[in-house]
């Protein structure tokens, strides 16, 4: 019995101590940052690694702020950030636009309002417009749903709409997905989320008369668009540059557009 236990212990120890993914690659590249781009980066990394077996790419989330910080500190070779305006400390970094993402302003499908102007959106977010009838809808109170302070989607949204000081009645949700659920469940809610996550449970509004569609984002008529940046400090090593080139290649960009984001070009 005791021998069994010891054997068991040794087996566990052996499993725990073997490095993950050992023997798979000699060079390793770490990416960190934007949770909006993280699933895309993971998919791209998988595709790239199946072709280039000598490189291991690790993708971590953490948010745009983490992406910028870890690119500056060197904790990650590539930082990912989805902000319209990068903060000042990011000026030391080389930026590459990997993709573009529209931000859709969404309401419940039961809501009769289907278009808003930028000014109306601002007034709703700031709590000046409190009832849907003020913008041509039913007589019902507006429930504003926003993201937490520091979210890349929120800061991009606020930078494009400008002059937002969010009403204190706003519900705060901590991801694109929970924003979608909240708006889908509440007939009076208004929120905003990444265009790639639109589905039939919510309704995207026309903003200044423009629909949030692939075409209007690509030709620049839709206003709420943010770039997704890849951030690199100094001159990138060869394998880092190769991977970035792969993301920008036709194949990489195809993966990006096939899964809901828009290509960089």
């Amino acid at each position: 019995m005791r021998t069994m236990n010891i054997l068991l212990f040794l087996c566990c120890a052996a499993i725990l101590s073997s490095p993950p993914g050992c023997g798979r690659g000699t060079k390793s590249v770490t990416m960190a940052g934007s949770t909006a781009f993280q699933p895309f980066a993971e998919k791209l990394a998988d595709q790239y690694m199946s072709k280039q077996s000598e490189v291991t790419i690790t993708v971590q989330g953490g948010g745009s702020a983490v992406g910028i910080q870890s690119a500056i500190s060197g904790a990650a070779q590539i930082g990912m950030a989805d902000l319209v305006i990068l903060p000042e400390e990011a000026q030391v970094l080389t930026t590459t636009v990997a993709a573009r993402d529209g931000i859709a302003v969404v309401v419940n499908p039961a809501n009769s309002v289907s278009a808003l102007t930028t000014d109306q959106i601002r007034d709703i977010m700031n709590g000046k417009i409190k009832n849907w009838k003020e913008v041509g809808g039913a007589d019902a109170p507006v429930t504003v749903v926003s993201r937490e302070a520091g979210s890349g989607t929120r800061s991009s949204f606020e930078q494009i709409i400008t002059d937002i000081s969010l009403t204190e009645d706003a519900l705060i949700q901590d991801s694109n997905g929970t924003i979608r659920e909240t708006v889908a469940n509440d007939a009076n809610a208004i929120g905003y989320l990444s265009h790639g996550l639109l589905n039939e449970k919510i309704k995207a509004l026309l903003v200044d008369g423009q629909a949030c569609s692939n075409e209007s984002i690509t030709d620049g008529t839709y206003k709420l668009v943010r770039p997704i940046f890849l951030l690199v400090k100094g001159t990138p090593e060869k394998e880092v540059q190769d991977f970035i080139d792969y993301i920008l290649s036709d194949e990489g960009q195809q993966t990006i557009t096939a899964n809901g984001l828009l290509s960089a070009k």
Binding site: R2, G62, G63, S64, A65, V66, Q69, T143, E148, A149, G150, S151, E168, D169, A170, L171, I172, Q173, D174, T178, E181, T182, N185, D186, A189
Partner: protein, 285 residues
């Protein structure tokens, strides 16, 4: 017999015992080290009692979160304590043994359900129900209170059952012999004898309610404002830390650690209160 020997085993167990203590100590030191300097710099009064939380503008007042935590916890008590105590009394005094054997494990299983599942049920079922029947955004203090009240049931109930069962059988026989009905005996004798255990259970449940994070983030709506009614959305101290920690840097990050210090102090006070109450019971016997 053993390869390690008697002394060796004792040493290993000693180390394990102290590892829990050192983990507690390290966590406490870390939080205090990160959070307390900020409290002093910002001013304890401003930090606790100012109601403006605008990290981007350097305003860190946690009063709305403090108020929300208090309201949600009191609400959870209002839901959980009567249900828990009444259930415990029924199971220990009135129910046949066979019923107890089914219900008690079922209630303990309630404690094993992950909080994210409670939150999910709150978002999908409870919040829409509150929105359609009572108005407001649905994601509210009321929803948080109900969900937390259910989550703390196992704590309150199992401690209460244990302390009710610990009341000597002679108390029950004595009250029956004096002509009291079962309910009179329970109400006038048994519950009073088990009072400190029941109170300790309620206080421990309260500690759990204050510390719960995931379910509250999902159902309470997280608006930063001092709530006017139970139908308002609110953000608790725990939710504030969890929501913003991943993005926070500099002062903002320290402010979140300072929020953690406040929470830590509140929970230490509650737990010591529970310990004192339990000890008091032992001393009186």
């Amino acid at each position: 017999m053993s390869i390690i020997g008697e002394k060796g085993v004792r040493r290993i167990l000693l180390v394990t015992a102290f590892s829990a203590l050192s983990a507690l100590l390290l966590i406490a030191l870390f939080i205090i080290n990160e959070g307390v300097p900020f409290i002093f710099r910002y001013g304890l009064r401003d930090f606790l009692f100012s109601s403006e939380w605008k990290p981007a503008e350097g305003r860190f007042g946690i009063f709305p979160m403090l108020a929300a935590s208090v309201w949600v916890t009191l609400g959870a008590m209002a839901v959980g304590a009567p249900l828990g105590i009444a259930g415990a009394v029924f199971l220990s005094e009135f129910a046949p043994k066979s019923v107890m054997r089914i219900i008690k494990p079922a209630i303990e299983l309630l404690a094993a359900i992950p909080s994210v599942v409670y939150g999910f049920i709150g978002v999908m079922v409870l919040a829409p129900l509150i929105r359609s029947s009572l108005g407001g955004p649905g994601l509210s203090i009321l929803a948080g209170s109900i969900i937390l009240g259910i989550m703390i049931l196992p704590t309150i109930m199992s401690i209460s059952i244990d302390s009710l069962l610990a009341v000597p059988q002679s108390f029950r026989e004595g009250s029956l012999a004096l002509g009291a009905t079962t309910w009179q005996g329970v109400y006038l004798v048994i519950v009073r004898a088990a009072k400190s255990g029941i109170i300790a259970g309620v206080i421990l449940g309260m500690g759990r309610a204050i510390g719960e994070t995931m379910a509250v983030i999902m159902v309470a709506g997280n608006a930063v404002k001092i709530p006017d009614s139970a139908l308002d959305s609110a953000r608790t101290l725990t939710a504030n830390i969890a929501l913003e920690m991943s993005y926070a840097t500099g002062m903002h990050r320290q402010a979140l650690f300072a929020t953690g210090v406040v929470l830590f102090v509140v929970i230490i006070i509650l737990n010591s209160l529970a310990t004192v109450v339990i000890k008091g019971k032992v001393a009186r016997r």
